[in-house]
């Protein structure tokens, strides 16, 4: 029997991509979505955590600023620290950056309006739990939908994340003024990923390619390998 890995989906009161993320996870054999409340304090038996998109606490204040200080983020911080996979999508990325779990920050788009459109992107880092099924340089098409997606970081640290290969995803044509076209990022240890584009919106598709599904299938493969490794170590 294939093991079933529980993937926690964190819900803040203003999260609105929660159901979409649930559906996307449900499409992948081996992954089981589980709701995690913003008040939750224990990770239980979760194998991975996803912070979906939305407007966590209305985002009238700086995006993600309140969410980053909510009870569940202590849990997420510990979970990430232990090396477990964590994915922040859109508002989830903003929250991870605000909480200092990922470097940099996401500023208002250079055109100052919300942008909802498809973007051509290139995958650069395929060593994270969410990108193992890609080859470096793979072109993907994913939608963005955000008002604050302009990645920014000071020059020294920018050089640092570039040098360490932390850039995961770049736009082909920069829609929002992000530094170095950065659309997605990982932490130094490679277990935490932040994406401005929405892979869960391309988990299945009537007309286009379901490029987003590969991110979740990668996670399933990664968790599968992890549990095999644990198993063989036990023997």
């Amino acid at each position: 029997m294939t093991p079933r890995h529980h993937v926690g989906i964190i819900r803040f009161p203003g999260t609105n991509c929660d159901l979409d993320t649930w559906e996307a996870i449900s499409l992948v054999p081996g992954l089981v979505p589980v709701w995690v409340s913003h008040k939750e304090k224990s990770a239980g038996d979760l194998a991975a955590i996803i912070l979906p998109g939305g407007f966590s606490y209305g985002d009238y204040f700086r995006t993600g600023a309140i969410a980053a200080r909510s009870p569940v983020m202590d849990l997420v911080g510990d979970f990430a620290q232990k090396g477990h996979p964590v994915l922040g999508i859109c508002n989830g990325f903003q929250i991870l950056a605000e909480a200092g779990i990922l470097p940099g920050t996401l500023l208002p788009n250079s055109k100052r309006t919300f942008l909802c459109q498809e973007e051509s992107l290139v995958i650069e880092n395929c060593r994270t739990p969410f990108t193992t099924l890609f080859d470096p340089g793979t072109p993907v098409t994913l939608p963005i939908a955000h008002q604050e997606g302009r990645f920014f970081i000071d020059p020294d640290r920018l050089q640092d994340i570039e040098k360490k290969g932390q850039v995961l995803l770049r736009y082909l044509s920069n829609p929002n003024g992000s530094l170095r076209e950065i659309a997605g990022l990982t932490n130094v240890t490679g277990n935490v990923v932040g994406l401005m584009p929405h892979p869960e919106r391309r988990a299945s598709s009537l007309f286009g390619r379901p490029d987003g599904l590969l991110f979740f299938q990668s996670l399933a493969l990664y968790l599968e390998r992890q549990s095999l490794r644990t198993l063989s170590e036990a023997h």
């Binding site: 009161p13 991509c17 559906e23 407007f55 606490y57 919300f114």
Partner: protein, 741 residues
């Protein structure tokens, strides 16, 4: 008239007289406030009600009709769609961002008050010319306001329409449509059951914002109205989301007897209207209402239009669970009153009674006007132009460029990319198509939404123009294989006290009623916005329609554009009356003696959807699109918009009237793109359904070439670059909006 007959709430003198004779006394301040709200045009429909009776809301699929927060139509064996459209014109002109945002919030509350989870939003926006800086600002802020609410609450804004016309400069139109899904056995009503019930307030705290908003929307603007901002409400989509989730939870657990959103005239209209529907009375204690501002007077609390509030009628044993749900969702809730058996609206503040009015006085006895109507005499325009039918007068290429260069003919992408049109991942056809298509995720069904609000045909001929709008919706739906199942409308007109406006209104309502009855489409909900008038100048008659259609199999759906070269292009549908009256070209040229508005071929129109269904079921199409605004040429450009270099090569026979062929917007025609090998099957199907059909050309890269013969048999050729046409198309609106500092 003595000084004391003048109403503090601008109730007209003759209506004040009526109030006095009903009550047998003078109303006090609070009572007068209540009358001013419920007798306002906005709440009472006093000028429109007798005409709206022409609409038929009957149909085998109709689960809920007018009188509820929204209409509901069955679309699968167990699910219904709840949908409605509303205007927020007046507030949006005063404070565009909040006005538009609260318009979206208000229509969403109407939907989830029915127990339906909102899954789609669309809108129709009509503004003055963007050459005026004021209009640029209004437009930019309205779009941002719609985006702010829809994006945050997580309901996708999937489509809409936009039109710029100087005649709307001082009365912009912002109409929002919402659609939700509800299980047939989970539909909530605004009509309470005959049981002892308590009134439970749920949502945002009440403040002074929007006090008397309904009364404002029931008047014309004048230059003196420089600061009406306190009458505009403030949106809070975050609280809106919490209220939505709490309300849906309460309904799912069967805890409420009736629900209505506190929209126009807030607490007053929601409480009185629900009590009236049950033939009962209601008592409200304003001391119990959660307040933001404790200095508010009872009449202000009653008339406040603070947003994100619902009123629930609940049996006492269930109140506690509701209060718990509210507290978990972090929204305010309180018991503010109760249903009483005497049909009386009583307002208390603690022990003191502030108002006591029989409910029927506020509703059934509200004024009902059959206002005089006088048909408009069309003033002859100056004869500076020449008739478009004069051969050779206009270069077709040049006219096409003019249509594309105006924001009315360009791409609306600058608007739609500010809307999250995909959240919820039910969006099958996104903005840029004629219709929005929502995946129902049940029985492979989907729902298509078509919006029609182009007023120019009505300026030419209100009755026939209104019919044209219905026919346009049905054509749009047919192009994706959807069968119309229900219609909602928002009727935007000028001052009903003007006989010309009233005549336009009556003709337009008759036109819509007639067309929908012919096609068997129930009109399940609607809204009237009168007094779109400033300094004595009314807007053109502008009914905006949203028609919902059902697709039986979403997997057969094809998009409205292709990127593939070598496809055959064909025209299917009625083509005997291609008059240009009321078209976009007609609007651009503004000829002194325009063509008549085309007559709809209802017979062929009704066969169009069954024909398309067969063709789509055969999986033979790559793209399809209704011939819409701008006519054939613009629709051709749109159908090849899947790729940046794709164009067309067309070979047409002798054309008696090339202008009509290329620019007519007569409904009932669909452009099809398909692999040449399927031509026989499609043509054969058209023949079986009695649908006129003609293959007109193919899609080709880097080429835009159209050959035809003119009336005298001379060969003509239109050549252009598809890349340049597409650049024009995408730059006309975005260029204007992005040039600003």
């Amino acid at each position: 008239m003595t000084a004391d007959t003048v109403s503090r709430f601008k109730i007209p003198a003759h209506e004040m007289e009526r109030i006095r004779s009903l009550l047998g006394r003078d109303p006090n301040l609070t009572e007068e406030a209540v009358f001013s709200a419920l007798w306002s045009e906005h709440c009472s429909y006093k000028s429109s009600r007798i005409h709206l009776r022409k609409f038929s809301s009957k149909g085998p699929r109709v689960l809920m009709g007018p009188g509820e927060n929204a209409g509901v139509v069955r679309v699968t064996s167990r699910t219904g769609i709840a949908f409605k459209m509303e205007s927020h014109n007046h507030p949006s002109y005063i404070e565009p961002f909040q006005g538009a945002a609260t318009g979206v919030g208000g229509i969403l509350r109407d939907i989830f008050a029915m127990g339906a989870r909102p899954v789609a939003l669309t809108n129709s926006l009509v503004f003055g010319s963007l050459r005026q800086p004021r209009q640029l600002t209004l437009f930019r802020r309205v779009v941002a306001g719609i985006a702010a609410y829809g994006n945050s609450i997580g309901v996708p804004t999937m489509g809409g329409e936009v039109w710029f016309d100087e005649r709307y400069a001082k009365n912009i139109l912002v109409n929002a449509f919402a659609l939700g899904l509800v299980a047939e056995d989970g539909i909530m009503s605004a009509i309470p059951p005959p049981k002892p019930l308590l009134a439970v307030y749920l949502g945002n705290k009440t403040g002074r914002d929007g006090v008397s908003g309904a009364a404002m929307a029931s008047r014309s603007f004048t230059d003196g109205d420089t600061d009406l901002r306190p009458q505009v409400q403030v949106a809070d989509p975050f609280v809106g989301k919490k209220v939505m989730e709490a309300t849906l939870t309460i309904i799912r657990h069967g805890l409420a007897g009736a629900i209505q959103d506190m929209g126009a005239a807030g607490l007053t209209s929601s409480s009185v209207e629900m009590a009236a529907k049950a033939g009962l009375g209601i008592e409200i204690d304003v001391d119990k209402v959660p307040l933001r501002d404790f200095s508010m007077e009872p009449w202000e609390i009653l008339l406040s239009e603070s947003q994100e509030r619902m009123l629930l009628l609940v049996e006492e044993p269930r109140v506690e669970r509701i209060l718990n749900i509210a507290s978990e969702s972090q929204v305010s809730a309180a018991v503010v009153g109760r249903i009483i058996s005497d049909p009386i609206f009583r307002v208390r503040k603690g022990e003191t009674v502030f108002a006591e009015v029989p409910v029927p006085y506020l509703t059934d006895h509200a004024p009902l006007y059959d206002r005089p109507a006088r048909a408009r005499v069309h003033a002859p325009s100056p004869s500076a132009h020449h008739s478009p039918s004069e051969a050779g007068r206009h270069s077709i290429v040049e006219l096409f460029h003019r249509l594309l260069d105006h924001p009315n003919g360009g791409s609306a992408e600058w608007i739609s990319r500010q809307f999250d049109f995909e959240v919820g991942t039910r969006t099958l056809l996104s903005p840029g198509h004629d219709v929005a298509v929502v995946d129902l995720r049940e029985e492979e069904h989907a729902v298509a939404i078509s919006m029609a609000g182009f007023s120019h045909p009505l300026t030419r001929d209100p009755g026939r123009g209104a019919m044209l709008l219905v026919a346009k919706c049905v054509t749009d739906l047919a192009a994706v294989g959807a069968w119309p199942v229900g219609l909602t409308d928002c009727l935007n007109f000028g001052n009903p006290e003007r006989p010309e406006t009233m005549s336009d209104f009556v003709l337009a309502v008759s036109g819509i009623a007639d067309a929908t009855k012919r096609l068997g489409i129930p009109v399940v909900s609607g809204n009237v916005s009168f007094y779109n008038e400033t300094d004595g100048i009314s807007i053109p008659p502008t009914p905006i329609l949203a028609t919902c259609g059902l697709l039986s199999d979403r997997r057969r759906l094809v998009p409205g554009r292709t990127f593939r070269a070598g496809l055959s292009l064909a025209l299917a549908g009625a083509s005997h009356d291609l008059s240009l009256g009321g078209s976009y070209l007609d609007w651009i040229l503004d000829e002194p003696e325009p063509d008549p508005v085309p007559q709809v071929d209802w017979e062929t129109l009704a066969r169009l959807q069954p024909f398309m269904n067969v063709v789509l079921a055969g999986r033979t199409l790559c793209a399809s699109r209704a011939i819409g605004r701008g006519g054939l040429l613009r629709s051709l450009l749109q159908i090849v918009s899947g790729g940046t270099t794709l164009g067309v090569a067309l070979s047409l026979p002798r054309l008696d009237n090339p202008l009509q062929t290329f620019f007519s917007e007569a409904p009932g025609r669909i452009l099809l793109a398909f692999e040449p090998e399927h031509a026989r099957f499609i043509e054969q199907s058209a023949l079986e359904f009695g649908i006129p059909f003609r293959t007109i050309g193919i899609t080709v890269p880097h080429l835009w070439n159209i050959r035809y013969q003119d009336r005298d048999g001379r060969s003509k050729e239109l050549s252009d670059s598809p890349e340049q046409l597409k650049r024009r198309y995408s730059a006309s609106l975005a260029g204007q909006m992005e040039e600003l500092p």
